[in-house]
Symmetry: C2
């Protein structure tokens, strides 16, 4: 079986973002990323400086941990990162699905894998200008194609007006995909801090702005959702 | 056309609760209710003492207001209350649907109507012990039957352990319905106050307790979601 590079496995807690918001989930966070977003809120799983904290684990050990955390009761497993698409997750999914577990994955859509079609949900998060990254739309579409029958949704983080306009244009490319806009956290946790302070009022203010902004445009297609875990637990890790 | 008794029409703003959380919505809140929950957060639309604030409106005038607020761009209309099921909403739905608008309704499930099957979503919220009300399950099932092909979901407000255990038993009656648990607001707005203070920390604490409580029981079926509008705007009305 394949070896995965794991930053953390935690839960069950609720999914705090996007289409599965509120759903009890165990998170498997892979270490390593092909992006380096300016406002990354998971630097401990992205920045190579923290790779000493990533544990190479055999798939069966990852699976044993998921089963232990969930008390062997099937639930949704979220594969996140970093970019989980750069890791060999096929075996984990193939192990868990026959036991009734469901799998969702969060990725920026930069790397397509032939196992995406095993997922129950693929959350594609193309990164807006404020990230400092540039989306390769050809690769992004390869991800969509690879997902085949899996439910795909778009999730776009929005920090400012430029991001907002970009999100509108990006969403227009994929009019049939359910869309989730998410206000960004401009006070993400530094990777070495387990419980850094956040600017809660600023985060709430950006969320209110985004609600008003879409209403002003009469743009009613997107769901607009904050990072619920941030509202509930701040920047605390593992919840 | 029929006359509706309207407490307020407002939006677009995001749906703050349940299955459609985050979705831009215009709310049509009817005045009057056959229940009187102890912790009702919409007393201005429930308590007969406030009926002087309810406006009898012809359906076409209600519809004109919805179109005006939405700039004639179709979106989701949420029929709420009070109990909207005690009002003749058929004509409003039949007016809006051909224009592309979608209709969701929130009701406790005490009164069934033959127009429920015109809804895009019926949110049934059976009230737990802390409400002081008692659910008539035969009537509740009549509501489900009346909904026919409409998407139905269960939403249960939970204040305490007794409510939680009740919610588990209630959910077990309807294992195929998507389920949403919602921590209650023990500091609901008094009907005469437009922006009363709330105990935000207490509300967040109940949400965290509910996440932990379901995890402890390995009960992974429900979505657990707070009232997002309360987190964003407190008890302010009309958002």
């Amino acid at each position: 079986m394949s070896t995965l590079r794991i930053a953390e496995i935690f839960g069950p807690t609720i999914q705090g973002e996007g289409a599965l918001i509120g759903l009890p989930t165990v998170f498997v966070r892979a270490g390593g990323c092909d992006y380096r977003c300016r406002w990354c809120d998971s630097l401990h799983a992205v920045d190579n400086a923290h790779r000493h904290g990533w544990t190479p684990m055999e798939t069966r050990h990852v699976w044993a941990k998921v089963r232990e955390l969930s008390g062997e009761v099937p639930l949704t497993v979220s594969l996140s990162g970093g970019n989980p698409a750069i890791q060999p997750f096929r075996a984990l999914i193939e192990t868990g699905k026959p036991e009734g577990y469901r799998f969702a994955m969060e990725t920026q859509g930069s790397v397509a894998r032939d196992w995406f079609d095993l997922l129950d949900m693929l959350v594609l998060s193309p990164k807006p200008p404020s990230s400092g990254e540039t989306v390769d739309w050809a690769r992004f579409e390869e991800c969509l194609e690879a997902a085949g029958p899996a439910r795909c949704v778009l999730k776009i983080v929005v920090f400012d007006e430029e991001d907002y306009l970009w999100a509108k244009a990006a969403a227009a490319r994929f009019p049939t995909l359910p869309l989730y806009l998410q206000p960004g956290n401009h006070t993400p946790p530094p990777p070495e801090a387990l419980d850094a302070a956040i600017d809660m009022e600023g985060i709430l203010q950006r969320m209110r702005w985004l609600v008003d902004r879409t209403a002003e445009d009469r743009w009613f297609a997107p769901h607009i959702l904050p990072q619920l875990h941030v509202l509930l637990w701040g920047n605390r890790r593992g919840v």
